[in-house]
């Protein structure tokens, strides 16, 4: 079964500093990976995805993610953090559910990002 792991429950960073939120994956076949962000009392907002191609994927709100096949990682990055980036971040992998041909998302446990002024 496909899975992702987010090893950090919380990441603290000062505003203006670069941030990294870690994610590792375990899949059979080629991975389809996603990052979502969740603000309090809201649903999940799509940030970016990796399907194939360039290992550096650019997404919304200045976020990017680096796909590393040898380390089976897909870390989320931003060069300069904002206080407004404080939220819960989820890494997810697409699971095709055997031979059904229909996909579902398998999520990590989430990482809380706190950006201090």
């Amino acid at each position: 079964a496909q899975s992702v792991a987010q090893p950090e429950d919380q990441v603290n960073v000062a505003e203006g500093n670069p941030l990294t939120v870690k994610c590792t994956y375990s899949v059979s076949g080629n991975p389809y990976l996603f990052w979502y962000v969740q603000y309090p009392n809201r649903g999940l907002q799509f940030l970016l995805k990796y399907i194939t191609g360039d290992n550096l994927v650019k997404g919304s709100y200045g976020f990017e993610a680096e796909f590393n096949k040898s380390q089976t990682s897909f870390h989320l990055k931003k060069p300069s953090a904002l206080v407004s980036d404080s939220a819960l971040y989820f890494c997810a992998v697409r699971d095709m559910g055997g031979n059904t041909g229909f996909q579902k998302l398998v999520f990590g446990t989430g990482t809380r990002l706190l950006v201090s002024p």
């Binding site: 649903g43 799509f46 399907i51 989820f90 996909q103 579902k104 998302l105």
Partner: protein
Amino acid sequence: DAGVTQSPTHLIKTRGQQVTLRCSPKSGHDTVSWYQQALGQGPQFIFQYYEEEERQRGNFPDRFSGHQFPNYSSELNVNALLLGDSALYLCASSFGQGASPQHFGDGTRLSIL
């Protein structure tokens, strides 16, 4: 262009009752998935509907059932509610079965007393 909309926003029920949650997908989307997010956890897949049929199901009991209508909207039904069913229920929509990302609604917060 409206995104995914869910109703109601909040709901309080007691053990043993039944509940129905509703979801309207983003315009142009034809596939609806439901997820349960317990407090402090990542979303867990419940099931997915496409062309009015359940296509894939996660590890949830038969008390959880659903429906998709011809206009692609969907309902999630939970019978015989348990305290452990308290969670945020998220609906996500997408187009087809390719790599298009799923778009999520803001969820329904279900509390069981």
